[in-house]
Point group: C2
Chain length 328, copies 2
């Protein structure tokens, strides 16, 4: 296992233990169980560990960013629980969703209480009052931004004129803002000045954008073995990804007609999904998305070049590249 | 109009304007409209103005507590929006609820974004870093407590063995904790020491308990003209109020049998509601609730006696008494 993967998995495990003890601070058994269900189900815990790497990368002690990472990981889980209700999804990562098991009422409440707990966790941040106040501000501003992105995403479902730029703006809020906060806050806690912290925040934001775009790309271009679900489900569900928007802006009318006989048809065959892949290839859509992601990786790397050379900088660069350019 | 009512309504109006401008900070039209729907529909704005009275009552400038009050008012509205979804209520204060108009998904998101906005509003608190940090902590702890109370309340619906003590514990979280935070924070911002602030917080908490208990009392004992809805709807809906719990713990078996032929029957007649009133009178239940509320008023007053004599102390004492002992 490469160094960064080892570091990530070690810290992810420790974060899991800490999250478990944070969940014990919720009274009411049913509420605690519902709140813990997804938080304690594992996962890579990128949002918990990235702040630590960022703190280390600016020459600070990674542990100073531990509480910030836990807070963000809890926020992430709160938004997943609420998003699953909003989207009516019954499974996530192969497990039943919180509202499916506990009902909507308890799931709404569990999300709210997780948000509250994410604020409480910041009690454990050991930093100057000035930095601590900035973190609280960031938490509020970030969650508002996530909510605005989620709302845009829902609005897109009913619209036929979504542009690429609107899509990028949506994922910047919904998916990537939390990675900005993760790296920005980690850097501040590691002792960086605001300018350096903002640069790192930006590298997290770009990697987060690439993360989402690559996720959508894999849904069409990967294999059922790697995905653990059928290839092309976004196409069958009619999801307006960057690929779809780029294709619609650039394709000929007859190709669009072919596309719309497949898009948003949940009974589309694998052969029809192949056709979409071919349409995306011939309109340079795949190339466009690959280039966009490559550009995010390049920018992300540039933003971290001036940091001191140490193992955390390496970890961070490796993880940010991995976020955008992974196979699964 | 008495002094305190005039002060409250003046400040409520100004708070309404400020809340309007805070709502403009939410991007996405639909999200902003859904978030604003209830916040801007008026109301007494007790949670916005109480902190100002508290700051004034300890000898400080009421304006120092303005941002804290706005933050709490926003939190209150976020919890109402989510509670209405959880409880499936289609109207509140005679208006359609947010989820009824905008759908569950947008209403969930609106509540989340209001919570985030309530954090952001604390940017405007002009106080020492130490006090500001305490307020952020309080916000998280308070919302968790409110959520735990809401969960207890939902659990009570399916249980037949709820005790009076459990009920008091539930409303302490769900209803009254925010009044504790309001007075505690207002006092701190007004320059009080932690001990004085805690005393005032306690007076707010007790008044908040009385507020809820008296609300339930009025539902049975007031008139349709004053309530603006039929008398006895809590009985028809099977709500486990302090009166119901006290009655069940103290009534004879045959009285309980009579009671259960009416309780939780949404077609119960006005004459049957009269019967419940008579049952509650004969078991000293009404007396018990009246005494409990009188005791809250007495304690609340005692907790504010040592404050400097000024107009804000008067306002505060008057409002706290009014909260428990109002006719409507």
């Amino acid at each position: 296992m490469s160094d960064w993967k080892q570091y990530l998995s070690q810290q992810a495990e420790r974060s899991g233990d800490e999250l478990n003890s944070i969940m014990q601070g919720i009274a009411q058994n049913r509420l605690r169980e519902a709140s813990s269900h997804m938080v304690l189900s594992g996962g890579k815990r990128l949002r918990a560990v990235l702040p630590m790497m960022s703190a280390g990368a600016v020459g600070g002690d990674p542990n100073t960013a531990r509480a910030w990472g836990l807070s963000l990981e809890i926020i992430h889980n709160f938004t997943l629980i609420h998003d699953d209700i909003m989207d009516g999804d019954e499974t996530r990562r192969g497990k039943k969703t919180v509202h499916f098991i506990y009902g909507n009422a308890t799931a709404i409440n569990a999300g709210d209480v997780l948000f509250a707990r994410a604020i409480e966790v910041l009690d454990d941040v050991d930093a100057s009052p000035d930095v601590r106040l900035k973190l609280y501000h960031e938490l509020g501003s970030m969650v508002r931004h996530i909510g605005e992105g989620q709302q845009q995403d829902m609005d897109f479902e009913d619209r036929d004129d979504v542009t690429e730029q609107e899509y990028l703006n949506m994922i910047e809020g919904k998916t990537s803002r939390i990675f900005d906060s993760a790296l920005w806050g980690g850097a501040l806690l590691g002792g960086a000045d605001e300018e350096t912290a903002k640069k790192l925040g930006k590298s997290g934001r770009l990697a987060g954008m690439g993360f989402q775009i690559w996720d959508d790309y894999l849904d069409l271009m990967s294999t059922v073995e790697k995905l653990g679900k059928p290839v092309g489900s976004d196409i069958r569900n009619g999801k307006k990804t960057l690929m779809v928007l780029h294709f619609l802006e650039n394709a000929r009318e007859d190709d669009k007609e072919t596309f719309f006989r497949i898009f948003k048809h949940d009974d589309a065959t694998d052969m029809q999904i192949d056709t979409v892949r071919e349409l995306f290839r011939s309109t340079w859509t795949l190339k466009h998305v690959e280039d966009t992601c490559a550009d995010y990786i390049r920018q992300t790397r540039e933003l971290t070049l001036n940091l001191p050379e140490n193992e955390y900088r390496e970890h961070l660069q490796d993880v940010l590249r991995y976020m955008v350019n992974r196979d699964v």
